[in-house]
């Protein structure tokens, strides 16, 4: 059983949904991004994505893109991100995942990247621009399997059932469903079709479903819960809160979200 599976069991035992949050390593600074992770873990977050910043992110919305640009301007490179992962994974007892873009993986080599991620204590990988169709050229999924680190597959809203089967067969971990087409970023309204989407996924697989993109309030979490998903993902809204009201503000905000997960 993977660390992610154990965490999912705990969430199920509590009869609630899980919360996954997101940080960009090096934003606003390396120290502050570490503090963010500690705060997240302390307030009861279940999973945290640690994003390795990349110059050309094709799926990031403006908030995360700006954070990545600033992290890169701070001189953050992948090696430091592995160091941050190593330090924090030893410190917090929830699964930490790496999120990045495929060029970062490719530059290091998929095998070396996956092995280094495992050695640093990462429990999963999210690489949205590495599709199944290119696996025969990249061997990234094979490398992750060999290294023993699962890939969180990102779905598309309105994927056909046959496609969902294909993806879930490769993922063997959490399936990440964007709440809408587009890029990341907090939005006031979430799509109403989430229940149908989750039900469709559940007809082909029992794998847990995480819903992200635009999640920014307790009400959104209620909606995700009622849609039948296991995990809500909050990214940009945390950064927006950090900028508006600092780490204390993030703590208050996360308590509201974890409360909504447990309600």
């Amino acid at each position: 059983m993977t660390t992610i599976d154990r965490q999912l069991e705990r969430i199920a035992e509590d009869n609630r949904i899980g919360l996954m949050t997101h940080i960009v390593i090096g934003y606003p600074s390396l120290d502050e991004s570490r503090d963010l992770v500690r705060t997240m873990a302390r307030t009861g977050v279940d999973f945290i994505e640690l994003q390795i910043p990349f110059t050309d992110p094709i799926a990031d919305g403006p908030t995360i893109m700006k954070a990545s640009t600033e992290a890169l301007q701070n001189g953050v490179e992948p090696q430091q991100c592995f160091d941050v992962m190593r330090e924090l994974a030893a410190e917090v007892d929830i699964p930490l995942l790496f999120m990045t873009y495929y060029n970062i993986v490719h530059a290091m080599g998929p095998k070396a990247f996956c092995e280094a991620a495992v050695a640093a204590g990462a429990k999963g990988l999210i690489v949205p621009d590495m599709p199944l169709a290119e696996e025969e050229f990249e061997h990234f999924y094979a490398a992750s399997e060999a290294a023993g680190i699962p890939i969180v597959a990102v779905l598309a809203p309105e994927n056909a059932p046959e496609r969902l089967k294909e993806i879930s067969a490769t993922s063997r971990s959490i399936l990440y469903l964007p709440s809408r087409t587009g890029v990341t970023g907090a939005k006031a309204e979430l799509a109403k079709h989430l229940g149908d989407e989750v039900a469709k996924i559940k007809t082909v697989t029992n794998q847990p479903v995480a819903i992200g993109f635009g999640v920014s309030s307790g009400q959104h979490i209620e909606l995700i819960k009622s849609a039948g998903a296991e995990i809500a993902v909050v990214g940009s809204a945390v950064i927006d809160t950090l900028e508006a009201s600092g780490l204390d503000g993030v703590e208050t905000f996360l308590k509201e979200l974890t409360g909504a997960c447990r309600s």
Binding site: T55, D56, K66, Y102, N103, H106, P128, M130, E134, F137
Partner: protein
């Protein structure tokens, strides 16, 4: 009318790759739209009505065939080989970009899409996109890196007059690659009703092939015009500038399977290729294999996979990547890629202007500079075709400031003070 679809030994394979390059490295949300685009495009290619519509617009809207000019004076001045120019600057909107815009507009219309999103560097692709959007009645948004937005104001002005919304992109290096990413994100967010009208032979499959196919009209015309003009079967060399590489592939494509015709792609050497950040030359500048903007190719990047800043006097070739088919042609040794620096391009612009009465775009001036260098080394009976991808009007604010700084500053000041 010469436009037709052709096949070569260097075409994309059935998995969307050119050797190890190409592919479609995109988030899942873009997978189906790209599959749909490819299916629709393959059907369109086989539809005579589609081909006829493109031909008609090429002839009656774009002004094709474009002139093929023997540069007798320049050739004599330089000494050596005979230089011929395929003048895409005389298309409507003044650059080759209109060719793939026409093709994609007809495709978008066929797909029932009424909204267009595009990226642009120098503004020529944006201008051509805005132009066809006006013609077809499409709603159009063009993303442009803030640096390019500032240095290519005339094109921004014209795009706006044509009814297009131009959005300056302040992310990253604020150049073409950042505009391309912003446009791709816009497409992702508006996927159901919007056609992403890409502007070079880059991006995820099938875009590099679609763009190349519509640009091939340049090479097909040049081939038949060369034969008619010289009585010879084929030129010795074809030369074109390469940013992403659309005009170069357009010229090269009909010659790719003929090893006797030497093909030269000219990249932006900027201030010199020795230092990363001073140039945009992927081949001479030792770019490495990467996966960016949805495709695998050669990119100027650091050891960790972060994409580098680039520099060129010319926005249209100031780009950190290169089309995947070019990377493949380089790897196969079919095309030679060289770098021309900013100053050499400016000198070539002046030489062509004074000897032939043609002011090229700064991008194309790189190709002219290489042709002049090469011609000197060849006999008089050798022939070189240069693709002049566009005319130089759009670069006025850069070239005038560089070539006549005092006069130009005085003129600008008089315009501000006097009006």
């Amino acid at each position: 009318m010469t436009f037709e679809f052709i096949e070569t030994a260097y075409d994309v394979d059935d998995k969307g790759h050119f050797g190890e390059f190409g592919g479609a490295y995109v988030p899942e949300v873009l997978r189906q739209p790209l599959l749909d685009l490819e299916a629709e495009y393959r059907q369109a290619q086989a539809d005579p009505a589609f081909v006829e519509r493109v031909r008609d617009l090429f002839q009656n809207f774009v002004g094709r065939p474009t002139p093929f000019h023997h540069c007798r004076n320049l050739s004599a001045d330089v000494g050596g080989a005979q230089i011929y120019i395929k003048n895409e600057g005389l298309t409507h909107t003044g650059a080759h970009k209109i060719n793939h815009c026409i093709g994609q507009a007809v495709l978008a219309e066929r797909m029932g899409k009424r909204k267009i999103v595009a990226e642009t560097g120098a503004g020529q692709h944006g201008l051509a996109t805005a132009t066809i959007s006006a013609l077809f009645g499409f709603e159009c948004v063009v993303y442009m890196g803030e640096v390019d937005y500032d240095r290519q104001r005339p094109n921004v002005f014209y795009m706006e007059q044509l009814g297009t919304k131009v959005v300056p992109v302040r992310d990253g290096t604020r150049r073409l690659k950042d505009a391309a990413i912003a446009a791709m994100k816009h497409w992702t967010t508006h996927i159901t009703d919007t056609y992403f009208l890409l502007g070079s032979v880059i991006g995820p499959h099938p875009y590099p092939t679609i763009i190349k196919d519509f640009q091939t009209v340049v090479g097909l015309e040049a081939q038949s015009q060369f034969r008619a003009r010289t009585g010879k079967d084929k030129p010795d060399y074809c030369i074109a500038c390469v940013g992403g590489g659309s005009n170069a592939l357009g010229l090269f494509n009909p010659f790719l399977d003929d090893a006797d015709v030497k093909l030269v792609g000219v990249e932006a050497g900027g201030r010199g290729v020795a230092i990363r950040g001073d140039h945009a030359s992927k081949i001479s500048g030792k770019a490495t294999v990467g996966v960016v903007e949805g495709y695998k190719s050669l990119f100027l990047q650091n050891d960790f996979g972060q994409i580098s800043n680039t520099h060129s006097i010319s926005a249209g070739v100031d780009y950190s990547g290169i089309g995947p088919q070019h990377a493949y042609l380089h790897q196969k040794g079919r095309v030679d890629y060289v770098a021309i620096e900013d100053d050499e391009a400016l000198a070539a612009l002046q030489a062509l202007a004074r000897t032939e009465g043609i002011i090229p775009a700064l991008e194309s001036a790189h190709a002219v500079a290489q042709a002049m260098k090469l011609a000197k080394t060849l006999d008089k009976d050798k022939t070189i075709i240069v693709n002049l991808s566009g005319r130089g009007d759009k670069d006025l604010f850069i070239t005038a400031k560089k070539l006549t700084p005092t006069k130009w500053d005085a003129y600008l000041k008089s315009q501000i003070d006097g009006e």
